[in-house]
């Protein structure tokens, strides 16, 4: 499988995403530049973390207008798997590919630590084959990860099975202590209506090797490989 990784000015998770694809998934990683107008021949796309344009104004706000974004939007609308991680999630919400927005953490500081998230649905290419209710341990590292969407949107998300990950304790129980940033209803990741575009704040691409503290991230990245046929069939 050929997995594209987009680099924006200020991206810094691109190296990890490329490494996770190559060293963790053993798949081909393709670096894509923000000034490119085409994605080339890729089967799936990772929009990595970092501080695109310094996160100035709002995280992801300026990146959303990068030349490559037209191609990203086209790719997403064609139903291919697109995963936005951290800043990538922020960019995809700014671009309107995902609902909601990500605000400054309720604690007002950057937070780097390992958290638990519960997989809410297996209908996306990034959770395909993972039993709903499975708890994964992943690192977070962000200052603006508080998920917010207006109430009517959130009920839509619930109704349409678009909430993909929730922060929980290690036993899968949702509570305030397990919510690292004040996200609405402990939401850690959401998808678009179709389910092929997913964004999450935790970093699966930094959890591909037990030596790093855990390899649960491989389940999310690896799900792409299993679900590929399903997506291609559409």
């Amino acid at each position: 499988m050929r997995i594209g990784v987009v680099t924006f000015p200020g991206s810094n998770g691109d190296h990890d995403a490329l490494a996770a694809v190559e060293l963790g998934l053993h798949q081909e990683a393709i670096a894509i530049w923000h000034k490119d107008h085409e994605l080339g021949d890729v089967d799936a796309l990772l929009v990595p973390g970092g501080f695109s344009w310094g996160d100035y104004l709002r995280a992801g706000a300026i990146a959303r207008f990068a030349p490559v974004m037209d191609a990203v939007i086209e790719f997403a609308e064609a139903g291919y798997p697109v995963l936005g991680i951290c800043n990538g999630f922020q960019i995809l919400t700014e671009a309107g590919l995902l609902p909601g927005a990500l605000l400054k953490n309720s604690g007002l500081t950057f937070s780097c630590r390992w958290v638990h998230v519960r997989v809410e649905t297996d209908r996306t290419p990034f959770t395909h084959g993972i039993d709903p209710g499975t708890v994964l341990r992943l690192p977070i590292a962000h200052g603006q990860g508080r998920y917010f969407a207006p109430p009517e949107i959130v009920s839509d998300l619930e109704k349409n099975d678009q909430i993909i990950f929730r922060y929980t304790d290690r036993h899968g129980v949702e509570n305030d202590d397990a919510n690292p940033n004040g996200s609405l209803r402990n939401i850690a990741g959401v998808s678009n209506r179709a389910g092929n575009v997913v964004g999450l704040m935790p970093h699966p691409e930094r959890a591909y090797d037990a030596a790093l503290g855990g390899d649960d991230g491989l389940q999310i990245l690896g799900a792409m490989l299993r679900s590929r046929m399903a997506v291609a069939a559409k």
């Binding site: 000015p9 200020g10 810094n12 310094g54 100035y56 590292a141």
Partner: protein, 731 residues
Amino acid sequence: MSVSDTTLREVALSRSEYDQVVVLLGREPTPVELGMFGAMWSEHCGYKNSRPLLKLFPTSGERVLQGPGENAGAVDIGDGLAVVFKIESHNHPSAVEPYEGAATGVGGIVRDIFTMGARPIALLNSLRFGPLERPRNRYLFQGVVGGIGGYGNCLGIPTVAGDIFFDPAYNGNPLVNAMCVGIVQHDAIMKARASGIGNLVVLVGADTGRDGIHGATFASVENPEESHRGVVQVGNPFLEKLLLEACLEVLQTEHVVAMQDLGAAGLTSSTVECASRGNVGIEIDVQYVSRREQGMNAYEIMLSESQERMLVIVREDGLDEVRAIFSRWDLHSDVIGRVTGDGHVRVLDHGVVVADVPAAYFVDACPTYVRDGIESPEARSARLYDCNSVPDIAASEVIPWLRRLLASPNICSREPVVRTYDHTILSNTILAPLEGDAAVVRIKGTTKALALKTDCNPRYVYLDPFQGGKYAVAEAARNVSCTGATPLALTNCLNFGSPEKPAGYFQLREAVRGMAEAARVLNTPVVSGNVSLFNESENGSILPTPTVGMVGILDDASKRVGLAANAGDALLLLGPPAGALGASEYLALRLGANLGAPPPVDLDVEARVQALVRNLIQQGLVTAAHDTSEGGLLVAIVEMLIPQRVGATLDLDAVIAASLGRVDGGLFGESASRIIVATPYSQRDVVERLAASAGIPVLTLGVVGGSQVHIAGVGEVEISDLCESWSNGLR
């Protein structure tokens, strides 16, 4: 015509230094030249007071590829790779504007690393503040921590280790030392030596503004808040990230002959250093320098310390390719001049010469001072304080004291700080902050890893600069050894008060002597460093703080060991068992003052204890290792129990007996060369045997398990209670 005292004060030159300038030039300097001399002859750039002392450091070794003198040191780590590292202070700017001061400190040290062609892979920071009860100190603390995280996180370089210490001597004068570590192929190491007459001088990155004018001079005078009149520098980590990637890419081409970041004294020091190191001249015209503001004159342009700028010396035929790479990264670059053959730094403003001085005058002719140093009477009498005049504590007081020590700001959990630093980015961190005595980061594509730590107990250095200097090196190395890594080399930042005061000079000289001796015996040459003197405020000098940044190598990364003990492990103490009260955190808390002689370091024992622990780790015999430092033995034991929230059953009578029979001395006294290891109970005797054959005392302290810490003859306490004391000290 003679220059006024006010002007001289502005450039921080003495009258006699000015006279030397006139003699050298054979004429009065122009205003621009005078400003340039002021910057280059400041302590910060010229090391006027420290240069003779720095010669005491051992700087070479089989693995040293680059010692002091370039932007950073470089050490061979095999596989054709080198580790490049340096530590630098940003104390004065942080006292004025803590967030931006600390942020730009990180920015500066990162540039020093990628200037060498190395990719930065880790950041460390060493911080000193006055007590947090004072609102101003808390403001500085929060700002500094915020700035370090804000800049490093954005750059995507993990901040993996550091150290923090509080003492009233840092009121109004916090210390902010940042260290960066990078990796480079041997043959890709780039130097800051201009060469090739006719080659082009290219300035790339941020536009030049009026920020930080006289930063270098201002870093070398007392009372920063008062003396600082320039515009505070505001960092742009986003721009630095672009510079980092673009510079590393440009260095892949054949077109660059030298690279130098613009740090203190901006264009002045970068042009002077590039020319002087390369034994060539440089001619630039400031009209080509892009500005952020209108109406800047040559003086301001030459002394501006605007951040995120680099000087690149490029072959003319490669210019287009180099500039294309920069513009691909949306970076603006200007050709501002050329390399010349006459050894002069010549500055033009629209073709008119405004400065023309042989580079050597700025560098080689910089005056140096060797002064008289005398121990201050206060430090002397504090050192000679009779610790045994303090009554011992009763067994019933041990647990309350333990809790008090665990909650002390100098000992308690650094979690509230480290959580705001991204330590997982780059996916190399295999021993994270709080997991081990040093951080361990793997090197992708090899089996190797680096162990990194900064350290300095400034209380020790204050009370006995020579022993304290030795101890700082020994402790940093010990922390590295406790992960299983072999200490390779060190960098250091000498943060001291005024060397013009005999007591200040004494501290500086003695600490450097001690550090040099330890570095020699422990075989960890000094490959880079930085000097920050004149750290004084209305309450006098800071505690002398020679921060050591140690780098070690672990050939097999999978062998690394943290500090968390497991249930079922035995705890063994390696090294001389006795603790003593002198200069301890315990005594400081008890008496509210820094008192007593710090523990002396027997470097031979130190080296053997460290070798032993590395050997044990190498053989897979231990699950955890941790040295005893502030707080002494019992605190160190509890620090090994906290991560797994597990208890232990301890018998520490032998330690107490060895410590003149004092309960407080044995449990809370401090000492050098002690390491506690946790080993599966069944392997205890193997460890004992190896220790015996290495000639190192070994003592079984107890067994890990349960939810309580039981201490024979003392009582017990829930580990969760101890966790609570430890966790909340910085909140």
